[in-house]
């Protein structure tokens, strides 16, 4: 098998990673190529993704059951505050699409939100174990507590709804 030419090596490098070409005006030598190792995009923060999903779930529930707008909008606003605290951008917040509830009746739809809040509170609490610094622990603890408090609030909403709704 013939040895690869310099051009083939360069083209291969361009194909697999970013390559910077450094020119030299005083020489007829072809430009040197410096290979830069590709950097993987940062892993999305599961807590941010979960907050965005919660915001979408509340938007979907409000679309489906506008009579719940009052309480649900307040809680959704708190999730927006959580997402911002965890590093979500305004673009990310603006691009959240409503997630319709899978339940067609209002009480089961509220139950779905309660389950989401319970899962969120657990995820936030578990995340404090590996939080990178005390400020992150503090923020995650506040958020975990807030989300835990949404559960009795939503249970009150569900209790106030008629049994057959």
């Amino acid at each position: 098998m013939p040895a690869p030419t310099r051009r083939a090596v360069l083209l291969g490098a361009i194909a697999t990673s970013a390559t910077v070409v450094v020119g030299c005006s005083s020489s007829d030598e072809p430009p040197e190529a410096i290979e830069i190792e590709p950097t993987a995009p940062p892993e999305p923060d599961p807590n941010v993704l979960d907050e965005l999903a919660l915001i979408g779930a509340y938007a979907g529930a409000i679309d489906a059951f506008p009579e719940l707008r009052g309480t649900l909008s307040t809680i959704a606003d708190q999730h927006r505050a959580h997402a911002r605290e965890l590093g979500a951008s305004e673009d990310e917040l603006a691009s959240v699409a409503p997630i319709p509830p899978s339940a067609t009746n209002i009480r089961p739809a509220v139950t779905e939100l309660i389950k989401r809040e319970r899962s969120a509170a657990n995820l936030r609490a578990d995340s404090t174990a590996a939080a990178p610094d005390p400020d992150a622990v503090r923020a995650l603890t506040f958020i975990a507590a807030s989300e835990a408090s949404h559960i009795p609030e939503l249970q009150d909403v569900r209790r106030a709804l008629k049994d057959d709704s």
Partner: protein, 138 residues
């Protein structure tokens, strides 16, 4: 784990004092609450005393603060409505206390602090407070 770092001990002492105050406030509400609310307040006295024991086990005996003889809640307890509001406010204030403790401890003690923060926020709502994005007693 027994903590001796003064900064960490201070956060645990703060949690103990706040819980001692809450226990005292629950006692004050006894004269104003009836029925299920009164039973809940009484049950919380026992639960919070257990919390105090758990917190005390994290520091040396000499660092455990003594129980104060009295406490004046920020929201005066004068009737059933203010009793509920006072207990809700004290619970929301506890969230910040436990968040500070979680930030200064590690392992199962951090887990304990986070769980108590969650329980305090839930209890605040059960006493009638609206949920908050970052619960505080303000």
């Amino acid at each position: 784990m027994t903590y001796t770092d003064p900064a960490v001990v201070a956060t645990i002492q703060n949690a103990i004092r706040s819980e001692q105050n809450y226990v005292y406030a629950c006692g004050l509400t006894g004269a104003q609450l009836n029925g299920g609310a009164r039973r809940r307040a009484v049950a919380q006295i026992a639960a919070r005393q257990q919390r105090i024991q758990a917190l005390a086990s994290m520091i040396t005996d000499g660092d455990v603060p003594t129980t104060p003889p009295a406490f004046t809640p920020p929201i005066a307890i004068e009737n059933a409505r203010s009793a509920r509001a006072s207990l809700a406010q004290l619970n929301n204030a506890l969230v910040g206390v436990y968040a500070q403790m979680a930030a200064s401890t590690e392992g199962e003690d951090r887990t304990f602090a986070v769980e108590q923060a969650q329980d305090s926020a839930r209890t605040a709502v059960q006493w009638g407070a609206a949920s908050q994005a970052f619960p505080t007693g303000d």
